[in-house]
């Protein structure tokens, strides 16, 4: 009886192993080379990281599910490049954990949105898209202006980003909350430290129009304004190469 039992079980286990082998090899063979791709990704020495305010804005972008209607990946097709700008390079989402390429364009691609509109436009648009674009079917996001931005966990957020490979320095991590506040307060005292840490090109503005208060709107607009501007590798690359 025991041996019979043993044989039967062996069959089930054999099938299990068969399934694992058949299924995992395909994934491994296809994906493994992608993890050594660093060796082939375009170099972009000027690539900078998200500031704490922008990172928080990115989290809001994920929380509100903007990725369900907007892509951030311009394909190597002529019409896309003419409509949206230089096609997206792998290096541009190097620090995106996770990537937000998206899979559906109910709204337009926004990979190169940064600088396209003013802050005021974005605030009005997010509060009520139909206020600026009457035929829009994008949702309104009134609460972004009402909610204060949560900054108590920004330090941990940056530390976690560092743990998964984004080169935040200990100094950046320590001052994450201060830097977030400084970026939306152009007249505040923290601006000098902020630009020292993240570079002169950092946009420092009262994004939502109220310098005294740090809202979720501040942070989302700061994020929208940096889209496509972490590096200018893409415009260099497209100039150099011909489209297919």
């Amino acid at each position: 009886m025991f041996t019979l039992h043993y044989r039967l079980e062996r069959r089930a286990i054999g099938m299990t192993l068969g399934i694992i082998a058949a299924a995992s090899i395909g994934g491994f063979v296809e994906i493994a080379p992608l993890f050594t791709i660093d060796q082939t990704v375009e170099a972009a020495p000027d690539m900078r990281v998200y500031t704490p305010l922008e990172l928080a804005g990115r989290n809001i972008y994920m929380r509100e599910g903007c990725y369900a209607c907007h892509s951030q990946m311009i394909r190597t097709l002529r019409d896309e490049v003419e409509r949206y700008g230089p096609y997206s390079l792998a290096v541009e989402s190097k620090y995106d954990h996770p990537m937000l390429w998206g899979s559906k364009r109910t709204g337009p691609d926004i990979a190169r949105l940064g600088g396209k509109y003013s802050d005021e436009w974005h605030v009005r648009h997010l509060l009520d898209p139909r206020d600026v674009v009457p035929v829009s079917i994008m949702p309104s996001y009134g609460w972004l202006m009402e909610n204060d931005l949560r900054i108590d966990d920004l330090r941990d957020q940056l530390a976690t980003q560092r743990a998964v490979g984004v080169p935040y320095t200990p100094d950046m991590i320590r001052h994450a909350a201060d830097d977030a506040y400084a970026q939306a307060n152009p007249d505040g005292s923290g601006v000098k430290d902020l630009t020292a840490r993240y570079g002169e090109a950092t946009t420092v503005r009262a994004f939502d129009g109220t310098p005294g208060r740090l809202t979720e709107m501040d942070s989302l607009v700061a994020y929208l304004q940096i889209l496509g501007r972490l590096t200018d590798a893409a415009s260099r690359d497209t100039l150099a190469k011909d489209l297919e």
Partner: protein, 56 residues
Amino acid sequence: MDLSHETLVWVAKTFGLIYLVILSIAVVAYACWPARQKEFRDASTAILNREDRPWR
């Protein structure tokens, strides 16, 4: 790691293909093996059995 990107790509493009061909042959051989046809026939009719209770 001295596993370079090129090596991995090479493995993916050669070994991957060979693996698939061998696996396909093995599966077809298993499924068509004459000695197994009775077992398969029994299995496909056994579920139509009317009895709805465990055998022990």
